[in-house]
Amino acid sequence: MFDRADLDRLLAAMRANGVESLTLETQDERLELGLFAATAPAVVAAAPAQHAAKAEALGRFLPRGGEDGLPVLKDGATVQADELLGYLAQGDLLSLISSPVAGKLLGALPQAGAVFGYGDAVFNIEASA
């Protein structure tokens, strides 16, 4: 049996870690706790914003760092606002993909040769605090 102190500790831990629902099961008991968004505004506000670097044209993805003289971009790299992240190639013509914000790249980099259309998210960036 969970007492009031146990419940308060669990709720505090949920708020501290941004957990919105929790289920605990024992052999003969089941406890479900939920936090409405209104009860955890601080956690929601603190979550870093994600932004997409979108394609301004259609084309095949070409990473930066080849003949362009720029350093190779790696997974999880920290980037600056307006930093060139890669290209979309139409033949020899290259459209640029730039970071809309300063932050950190999320997920794996696109594969060279992958096709993107206008407006597609090519990179996802977690904005710096």
Binding site: D68, Q80, L96
Partner: protein, 323 residues
């Protein structure tokens, strides 16, 4: 408009050269890397003949007093616009007050900078190129210096994407050597068989004695076997002469119009941009071709520029459709 804040010597305004004055002893001048020159103009929607700024030495700092489109191409130099790193080839907009910084050149030898419509300098004897030896043409007939202001021929910005546009360039070298396709020239057969063999099969290094007039090379000695002195003959950019020491010289954009050294080969025009981007110590290798192959190379070069022009127009049309 662009203001030069700092720039090392030898930066000059160039176009595709001053042709048709050979008979008067006036050389061609023009961009050492005509491909990069053409590309910056193409990306800005300029005519190929529009004048650009050729920058052989860095670092340089330039400022845009007002919002303007511009383009750069050629050597890798860690270019930054307002602190933002630019790729080797780029065309886009600079905001008013933005600073363009060109860092150390790490690959290639010359950077070209273009403005909308071309750089506004007077047309002199059919060209806007700086004739450095004679001291006319280009910007007041001289190399640029801090405080100079270059104006664009056109105020209108081309329809460039917000982030700008870049290009994939043909590789400068292959296997660590810059390959130059060349035809045998008039005295080719007067060199010894060993010299001919060495010329077409061994690399030659670019020496420190190299400039817009020509590149002196160092490699296998080339023995000239014919007797007597040659009379001076007309020479053009791309001609490879061999003075008495047996080391070749490639004549380039600012070459003299006449020369008396025996001529072993002529580098085809389609490959002369590679020489313009070669640096001291780079290895050059001459690749013998025939006239038909030279003509085909010219066709391929034209096709390369046409394809890029078509792609640029298609991109502009796409952008308009999406706006």
């Amino acid at each position: 408009m662009i203001e030069v804040l700092s720039i090392p010597p030898l930066a000059s305004v160039q176009d595709l050269g001053r042709h048709g004055q050979w008979h008067q002893g006036l050389g061609q001048a023009g961009a050492m890397d005509a491909m990069a020159h053409r590309l910056v103009n193409l990306l800005l929607g300029n005519l190929a003949e529009a004048a650009t700024l050729e920058i052989p030495l860095t670092p340089a700092r330039l400022r845009f007093p007002e919002r303007s489109a511009f383009a750069i191409a050629g050597a890798v130099c860690g270019a930054k616009l307002g602190g933002r790193a630019l790729p080797r080839v780029w065309a886009g907009m600079a905001e008013a007050g933005a600073m363009l910084e060109l860092g150390p050149i790490t690959h290639g030898a010359r950077v070209y900078l273009g403005l909308p419509g071309g750089i506004d300098v007077p047309l002199v004897i059919g060209s806007r190129s700086t004739q450095l030896r004679e001291g006319f043409g280009g910007f007041e007939g001289r190399v640029l210096a801090a405080g100079d202001v270059l104006r664009a021929c056109s105020q209108s910005a081309s329809n460039l994407p917000r982030s700008g546009v870049s290009l994939s360039l043909p590789p400068l070298s292959k296997g660590g050597e810059i390959l130059l396709r060349a035809l045998p020239s008039s005295e080719h057969d007067d060199f010894s068989a060993e010299a001919q063999q060495a010329f077409w099969s061994s690399p030659y290094r670019v020496t420190q004695q190299s400039n817009r007039q020509g590149y002196r090379l160092e490699g296998a000695k080339l023995d000239y076997t014919a007797q007597g002195e040659l009379r001076s003959h007309g020479i053009v950019p791309g001609i490879v002469q061999v003075p008495g020491g047996g080391q070749p010289i490639i004549q380039l954009a600012d070459s003299a119009t006449m020369g008396g050294y025996p001529k072993i080969a002529a580098v085809i025009e389609a490959d002369q941009w590679r020489i313009g981007q070669a640096r001291e110590g780079d290895a050059l290798r001459f690749c013998r071709i025939d006239l038909a192959e030279a003509a085909e190379a010219e066709v391929q070069a034209v096709t390369y520029f046409d394809d890029i022009a078509r792609a640029a127009h298609a991109l502009t049309a796409q952008q308009k459709g999406w706006e």
